[in-house]
C-alpha cells in the first residue's frame, strides 16, 4: 500500500533561490563521474570495446609497416597515438549512447545543475577510461623500450608518453565539446548564456592546447 509522501521541508519552496557553492558543483561533477564508472563496471562494454579496438589497430599496423626494432623508435608513437585517438572516439560515442538511451540526458538537463558540470563530469569520466586503455596498450607498442632498460627509465618514459597521450585526449574532447555545444545552443539549454559561453571557451582553450601539442611534437 502506498504511503504518504513526506515533504522534504516544512513548507513548499516559494522562491527559486538555490545554493551555487563550489562544493555543490564539485559534488555534482563527481556524481556524474561516479555514475559513469558504476555503469561501466557493471557492463564493461566501453572499456572492452576500446581495448580490443586499440589492440586491433596495433595488430594491423604491425602488418602494414615494417616494425623491426630499428623502425619502432619512429613508428611506435604514431601507432600509439592512432590507437588511443580512435579508441577514444569509440569510447566517447558509447559514453553518449548511455545518455541518449531512455532519454537520460533529459533527466540530467532537468536537474538544477550548471551545464558545465555535466560537461566536466562526462569529460573526466572519459579521460579516466581513455587513460586506463592507454596504460594497458602502452606495453604493446613500447616493448623495445622495456627490453634491456632499467625500470626507472621505463617508468619515466611511460609517464612522458602518458602525458603526451593526455594531450591527444584534449584533442578528442573536441568531439564532446561539439556535442555539448550543439545540445546547449540548439535545443537543451536556451537560457543559460553563461553556461554556453563556458563550454565554448573551454572548447577553444582545449583546441589551442591540442594544436600547440601537435606543433611542439
Amino acid at each position: 500500500m502506498a504511503e504518504q509522501v513526506k515533504p522534504l521541508t516544512q513548507s513548499k519552496p516559494v522562491s527559486p533561490a538555490v545554493s551555487h557553492g563550489f562544493g555543490s558543483y564539485v559534488r555534482k561533477v563527481l556524481a556524474i563521474v561516479g555514475k559513469d564508472i558504476a555503469a561501466e563496471l557493471r557492463t564493461k562494454e566501453m572499456m572492452s570495446t576500446m581495448f580490443i579496438f586499440s589492440l586491433l589497430i596495433i595488430f594491423i599496423f604491425n602488418f602494414a609497416f615494417d616494425l623491426r626494432a630499428e623502425n619502432m623508435q619512429t613508428l611506435a608513437p604514431g601507432v600509439l597515438w592512432v590507437a588511443v585517438a580512435f579508441a577514444g572516439m569509440l569510447g566517447l560515442s558509447r559514453s553518449f549512447i548511455l545518455e541518449r538511451d531512455q532519454n537520460v540526458l533529459d533527466g540530467l538537463l532537468l536537474a538544477p545543475v550548471d551545464r558545465s558540470a555535466i560537461y566536466f563530469g562526462k569529460m573526466i569520466g572519459n579521460v579516466l577510461f581513455i587513460g586506463v586503455v592507454e596504460v594497458i596498450i602502452l606495453p604493446f607498442t613500447e616493448q623495445h623500450i622495456i627490453a634491456g632498460h632499467a625500470i626507472d627509465e621505463v617508468i619515466a618514459r611511460f609517464t612522458v608518453e602518458f602525458v603526451t597521450g593526455a594531450q591527444v585526449i584534449a584533442g578528442i574532447e573536441q568531439i564532446v565539446i561539439t556535442a555539448a555545444r550543439r545540445v546547449v545552443e540548439q535545443l537543451r539549454c536556451p537560457h543559460d548564456d553563461v553556461c554556453c559561453r563556458t563550454v565554448v571557451v573551454v572548447g577553444e582553450v582545449q583546441q589551442l592546447v591540442a594544436t600547440h601539442s601537435v606543433r611542439a611534437d
Binding site: E3, A39, R42, L110, H191
Partner: protein
C-alpha cells in the same frame, strides 16, 4: 502556479503552438488531451525547460522561465514516455545519483520513502533493465518525486503499460500527495484523464480549444468534445 501566456513554438516553418494561454493554479491536476502532434509534449518540454519557446511567456510561481530556468528546475518533476533512468544501474544507484544532482540533504531517507511508496523497496538492488515496463514506470515516478517538486509534469505516463499496470499507475498517482502538487498530465485515455484530473483541457491545432472543470463534464460529453475538436 504555472502561467502560460501566448506561447508559440515553431520547428522550422511548422507552427506547433499558436499562442497558448493557460493558467494552472496551485494544487490543480490538469489533464491535457489532444491528437498526436497537437503539441502536448512540446508544451510540457517548454515548461520543463527542456525546450525554448519561440514566443510568449511561461512563468512558475511568478518567476519567468526565460530568466530563472536553472533555478526553477528544482521545482519541476517530469515523467516522460521514457524512464530517464540508467538501465544498467540499480534502482538505488539511479536514485542516489539523482539525489546528488538535486543536492538532497536526507537522501537515504527520502530514497527509502519513495521506493516504498512505489512498491519497489524490495527490488532496490536489481538493475533497472530487469524490471517490467510497469515497474520501470513506477521507478520513473519515484525519480520524478524524489526531490519533492511542487510541480509534476506527466507526459503520457501510461504509454506501453498493460491495463493492470496502467490501473496501478493511476492508483499510485492518486496516492502521491496530489493536494500538495500542481500536476499537468497529457494522456490519450479519456476515462483515466477524467478520473485523475480535476480539470480537463484539450489542445488542438496549437491552441487550447476546451477547458472545463471535471465536475462539469461526463465521460460521454468529454468524448463528444474531444472528437469534435480532434478529428479533422
Amino acid at each position: 502556479m504555472i502561467e502560460i501566456h501566448k506561447l508559440i513554438k515553431t520547428f522550422g516553418h511548422r507552427v506547433v503552438l499558436r499562442g497558448v494561454d493557460l493558467t494552472i493554479n496551485e494544487g490543480d491536476f490538469v489533464t491535457l488531451m489532444g491528437a498526436n502532434g497537437a503539441g502536448k509534449t512540446t508544451m510540457l518540454h517548454i515548461i520543463a525547460t527542456l525546450s525554448k519557446a519561440t514566443g510568449g511567456e511561461v512563468s512558475i510561481n511568478g518567476y519567468r522561465l526565460a530568466e530563472s530556468a536553472s533555478e526553477l528546475r528544482r521545482f519541476i518533476g517530469l515523467v516522460s514516455h521514457k524512464t530517464l533512468l540508467y538501465d544498467n544501474l540499480t534502482a538505488l544507484q539511479n536514485l542516489r545519483f539523482y539525489a546528488r544532482m538535486y543536492d538532497l540533504p536526507d537522501a537515504s531517507e527520502r530514497i527509502e520513502t519513495v521506493l516504498r511508496q512505489v512498491g519497489l523497496w524490495g527490488r532496490q538492488y536489481d538493475p533497472v533493465r530487469t524490471y517490467s515496463r510497469g515497474m520501470q514506470q513506477r521507478l520513473a515516478i519515484a525519480r520524478a518525486i524524489l526531490h519533492n517538486p511542487p510541480i509534476l509534469l506527466l507526459d503520457e505516463p501510461d504509454t506501453g503499460l498493460d491495463q493492470h499496470a496502467a490501473d496501478m499507475l493511476g492508483e499510485l498517482l492518486s496516492a502521491v500527495d496530489i493536494s500538495q502538487r500542481t500536476i499537468l498530465m497529457t494522456t490519450h485515455n479519456l476515462e483515466r484523464g477524467l478520473s485523475l484530473g480535476n480539470r480537463v483541457v484539450i489542445l488542438a491545432k496549437g491552441k487550447i480549444v476546451y477547458d472545463t472543470p471535471r465536475e462539469d463534464v461526463s465521460t460521454e460529453q468529454l468524448r463528444e468534445q474531444y472528437y469534435k475538436y480532434v478529428t479533422v
